[in-house]
């Protein structure tokens, strides 16, 4: 459609209908408008393609499970390094603690290790707790 739409005084074009109302200076021709629209379409298409590609990559990286095959054991795979330096060097600035503060044991059972004084001597007391209700 090559003919330009003429706007009468007082008419207001619809958004994107091709420029300022009649009487305004320097209205672009429809051929320029089509070229502009094509350029914009091309850029929009390129942006959409790039965006879709980036989104696909991001989803693939975040979605679980990833590509590790069934039954393979990845024990030796590289993990995430924890900031804070060597684990072995931590814990040098705290207080002196001599008695056990916790016991690692099977799920649902905790051993309390505490001390009490009997006849002037420190005696280690172990108490076993078995879970009386649900596990998690």
């Amino acid at each position: 459609m090559d003919s330009e739409r003429e706007y009468r005084p007082g008419q207001v074009p619809l958004p994107g209908a091709g420029g300022p109302p009649a009487g305004s200076p320097a209205r672009p021709s429809s051929r320029d408008g089509i070229r502009h629209a094509r350029r914009m379409s091309n850029w929009t298409l390129a942006a959409l393609l790039a965006g879709t590609g980036a989104a696909t990559v991001a989803l693939a990286r975040h979605a679980l499970p990833a590509s590790t095959g069934a039954g393979t054991t990845a024990a030796g795979s590289t993990g995430t390094a924890v900031s804070g330096g060597q684990a072995a060097t931590a814990g040098t600035g705290g207080p002196q603690v001599s008695h056990s503060v916790a016991t690692t044991s099977g799920s649902g059972t905790t051993v309390s290790t505490s001390t009490k004084t009997v006849n002037g001597k420190t005696v280690i007391v172990r108490t076993v707790h078995h879970a009386a209700y649900h596990d998690n």
Partner: protein
């Protein structure tokens, strides 16, 4: 054991916790029942015990509401009632599921969160305390795990196929210890240090006592004479233990336990009765200790490849130390500063 709640500032705001006298005034140790087991905090400076207990309470309550398959009102129970579908999870449950799936990937499926139906088929479908009343019921056919690869998690969006029921038991308790340790350090302004134990799965954060946190690794705590416990020092990181000697029940004349081999749907039957593993986070340690029990004869090789210190106790009472776990009592357990399944906790109480 001496308990009191009055001597620690702020502990009255967390009344479920009871103080335990250990003989060391430099740390405060408090304990309570939580998540079906016992939660314990060791904190320094001692006056931080109150704020630590309040912070840990919030973490444990949230985890219970997110991930407990024994609570009908928990988020995971609501998800599983739908028998498959797409679900937008809370951030907390999404993290718990993500950690479980990462653990499954890392362990090659030895610690698989899709063992929910297998556990239910074995009779572990109710409060553990109520299982004994059903010991004469017949044991249904084994239900191998459908496989963690069927579960998709994209951010907080979970796609669960019909017939796949999750059980986060291999990682959730460790994750809870990690979260609680991080929360305590945040509440304390990153000052001092904390040890959190949930049923024996231990996470630490902040600065440890000189020479490390003194802890005990126990194989059969109910029969200490048959298999001696070992005191060790933990300067940083976490330790978790999985054992077939706990949470056992009978069904149709057979003795069962709660560590299921995902490949068979039956309780794991390898040579190890207890596996204690140290790692940077408790979720990592928890996953690895479960995987070691399930791996059976391959456990030593797997742990060596993973580079994790471990203590394996066989059914005959023999103990094997792997990956640098100290042979001597009082030795130091050094963990590599690397995480595989969860990076939320670290030596400074939350560094990623």
């Amino acid at each position: 054991m001496t308990t009191t709640t009055s001597a620690v500032p702020g502990l009255a705001e967390a009344p479920a916790w009871q103080r335990i006298e250990t003989g060391d005034p430099a740390v405060t140790v408090v304990e309570r029942a939580a998540l079906g087991t016992t939660a314990r905090l060791a904190v320094w400076p001692p006056e931080h015990a109150g704020l630590a207990a309040v912070a840990a309470d919030r973490v444990l309550a949230a985890l219970d509401m997110q991930a407990s398959r024994f609570r009908a009102d928990s988020e995971i129970s609501r998800v599983q009632r739908s028998d498959g579908g797409l679900f937008m999870l809370s951030d907390g449950l999404a993290e718990a599921v993500r950690v479980a799936l990462e653990a499954a990937r890392w362990t090659g499926g030895l610690a698989d969160p899709t063992v929910g139906d297998a556990l239910i088929a074995l009779g572990y479908d109710r409060d553990f305390a109520a299982i004994g009343a059903h010991r004469d019921e017949p044991l249904p056919a084994a239900v191998p795990a459908p496989g963690w690869q069927q579960v998709r998690l994209d951010g907080a969006l979970l796609r669960l196929p019909p017939g796949v029921r999750l059980d986060l038991g291999a990682t959730a308790k460790g994750l809870g210890s990690d979260r609680a340790a991080r929360a305590v350090m945040a509440a304390a302004g990153q000052a001092g240090g904390v040890l959190v134990s949930l049923g024996g799965d231990i996470a630490t954060a902040g600065t440890a006592p000189r020479d490390g946190w003194p802890i005990v690794a126990a194989d059969r705590p109910d029969e200490p004479g048959n298999s001696p416990a070992q005191p060790v020092r933990l300067p940083a990181g976490a330790v978790a233990t999985s054992s077939i000697t706990c949470r056992r029940w009978q069904r149709d004349g057979r003795l069962l336990h709660h560590i299921v081999d995902p490949r068979t749907g039956r309780p794991a039957g390898g040579p190890w009765q207890t596996a204690t593993v140290a790692a940077m986070t408790c979720a990592d340690a928890n996953a690895a200790s479960t995987a070691a029990i399930v791996a059976g004869p391959q456990a030593q090789a797997w742990l060596t490849r993973a580079g994790l210190p471990a203590r394996l106790a066989a059914r005959d009472g023999q103990v094997r130390c792997v990956g640098g776990w100290p042979e001597q009592d009082g030795g130091t357990v050094l963990v590599p500063p690397v995480t595989r399944v969860y990076a939320g906790a670290g030596p400074r109480g939350g560094a990623r």
